[in-house]
């Protein structure tokens, strides 16, 4: 009977001390503990979210970098291509210019030669004329003794004349 009969004393002490301890623990233990746990859970959640975000950003950044790299490569290739083209163009131009120049030089030279030749021929002509005049003078001066002699003289004079 004693086993199942509640005792007033124990009920009283239990009621008082349990309520008191519940209030004490509520103020000094449960509230800070639950707050602490909640705060930590939130921190962890946020940290995980931030990590995920960072991962995503990293991926984006990586993709961006790759894009940038690809663009840079393309640009470089384009530049190289342009440079090559330009080089070729310059070379081509230089070549054509050079050939033009040489052609012009050759032409000039040819013209010069022609000119010199003409000058020489003119000179020759003049000299021939002068010589012819001399000969003619000499011939005229000697008063031609005989035809044979004349011929011989002409012949001799002509032999003297050397066409340079």
């Amino acid at each position: 009977m004693q086993l199942v009969t509640p005792g007033i004393g124990l009920i009283f002490w239990m009621l008082v001390s349990f309520s008191l301890v519940m209030l004490i623990l509520k103020a000094f233990a449960w509230t800070p503990i639950m707050k602490g746990i909640h705060q930590r859970e939130e921190t962890i959640e946020k940290a995980l979210e931030a990590a995920n975000e960072a991962k995503k950003e990293m991926l984006l950044l990586k993709a961006g970098n790759e894009q940038l790299l690809r663009e840079a490569k393309d640009e470089r290739d384009a530049l190289m291509r342009d440079a090559r083209k330009m080089k070729e163009a310059i070379l081509e131009e230089a070549r054509s210019k050079a050939s033009e120049e040489s052609a012009r030089i050759v032409e000039n030279a040819r013209e010069n030669i022609q000119f010199e030749k003409m000058a020489a021929i003119n000179d020759l002509k003049n000299q021939i004329a002068a010589i012819s005049m001399e000969i003619a003078e000499k011939l005229v001066g000697k008063e031609l003794e005989n035809i044979q002699q004349q011929h011989q003289l002409t012949e001799k004079l002509l032999k003297e004349v050397k066409i340079n």
Binding site: L3, G7, I24, F28, A29, W30, P32, M34
Partner: protein, 384 residues
């Protein structure tokens, strides 16, 4: 975990070794007393044959002194203060004055038999015979269970305030030491007891009660399993304690009950009117439900813990019963008794947790039911 188990097994074995000592010792007492029938009056306790039922009941009920051991005629026990309110007067003295229930003091003595056994009763002027006509004084004594209650509550305060300080000082760090043992339990109470019963929105309000109740029951269940001094009181197996705990649940449920809860009790929707009107059958049934819920909480915890202690003590009694017939039978039986005792103690460790869990879970479910916003009957009237 394994180390912990090993430790408890070792502890159990050490205790059973003590019991062994008791067996052989008990035998010498009987032979001594038999040999000298002209023993003085105070040896009468030694002469008394071993009564398993009485021993078991003495171990699981409350007492006015904390008995630790008896060696020969020497009783080692801690006397506790007696506080009585008798006819509006406050009477206080040490329970040591009762000399383990053998003597009367200031007109009071411990009753040895009958309905009042173990209680403080008044005696007549001769200082011996119980005063049958006098009313029992109101007993507010600091009994063994009250001391045990204080010890466990101080333990709760010290442990949880110290770990709360760690939460305050190092908010975002991983739990350490005691905190790492208790945090899973706190999270268990929150995530598997409070939130399923009360929902995420409401649970925070009830956490202080649920956590205090859970750890109070759990700690005291475990302390009850330790047979020596700071433990050993069968606190959660005491009906007064479970009564107060269940009363807390009942009072909280009653106070937070919303309109739906009371409508459901006094005018349950979806029930034919003739079950309510001339004879309010359903309201009576529902109202009984309100009472039986905390009553069952009270009895479940009390009965589970007490039963565990009784079984364990029963196994131990077997040693003494057989030892009285034949000392070798006693030793022989002790092997099985210890084996079963170890098994029961391990089982009790499990029960200690399960009972704390069940009590708090049911409390949280009752709170949740009292605060439920809408009724299933309104949504699915066909079901009822």
């Amino acid at each position: 975990m394994i180390r912990k188990l090993l430790y408890s097994v070792r502890l159990q074995l050490a205790l059973f070794a003590l019991f062994f000592a008791g067996v052989s010792y008990g035998n010498t007492i009987t032979s001594d007393t038999v040999a000298s029938p002209a023993a003085p009056a105070h040896e009468q306790t030694g002469k008394k044959p071993f009564d398993a039922g009485e021993m078991i009941i003495d171990h699981i009920v409350d007492a006015h002194e904390w008995h630790i051991l008896t060696y020969n005629e020497f009783h080692l026990s801690i006397p506790l203060p007696v506080i009585l309110i008798d006819k509006g007067k406050l009477v206080t003295f040490s329970s040591g004055n009762f000399h383990h229930g053998e003597k009367a003091y200031m007109g009071y003595r411990l009753s040895n038999e009958g309905e009042t056994k173990g209680k403080i009763i008044k005696v007549l002027a001769d200082g011996e015979t119980p005063d049958a006509t006098a009313k029992l004084p109101l007993d507010f004594s600091i009994t063994k269970n009250v001391v045990s209650l204080f010890i466990s509550l101080i333990l709760l305060c010290v442990i949880f305030i110290s770990i709360a300080n760690r939460y305050k000082k190092n908010p975002d760090t991983a739990p350490k030491g005691l905190q790492s043992i208790l945090e899973p339990l706190i999270l268990f109470v929150r995530d598997d007891i409070a939130i399923p019963g009360l929902g995420k929105k409401n649970h925070a309000r009830f956490m202080p009660f649920l956590l205090t109740a859970f750890f109070f029951i759990f700690f005291n269940n475990l302390l009850g399993l330790i047979p020596i001094f700071p433990g050993g009181a069968n606190l959660t197996g005491n009906i007064s304690i479970t009564l107060v705990l269940a009363m807390f649940t009942f009072v909280i449920t009653t106070f937070i009950g919303n309109k739906n809860y009371w409508i459901h009790i006094f005018n349950a929707p979806g029930v034919p009117w003739w079950l309510k009107f001339p004879i309010p059958l359903m309201p009576i049934v529902e109202f009984l439900g309100v009472i039986t819920k905390p009553f069952v909480l009270m009895v479940r915890l009390f009965a589970n813990m007490t039963a565990g202690h009784i079984i364990l003590l029963g196994f131990m009694s077997l040693i003494f019963i057989f030892g009285k017939m034949n000392i070798f039978a006693g030793y022989g039986v002790s092997v099985f008794s210890i084996a079963f005792g170890v098994f029961m103690s391990l089982l009790e460790l499990l029960v200690a947790f399960i009972q704390a869990y069940v009590f708090t879970l049911l409390s949280s479910i009752y709170f949740g039911m009292a605060m439920e916003e809408h009724h299933h009957t309104e949504e699915h009237p066909i079901e009822h």
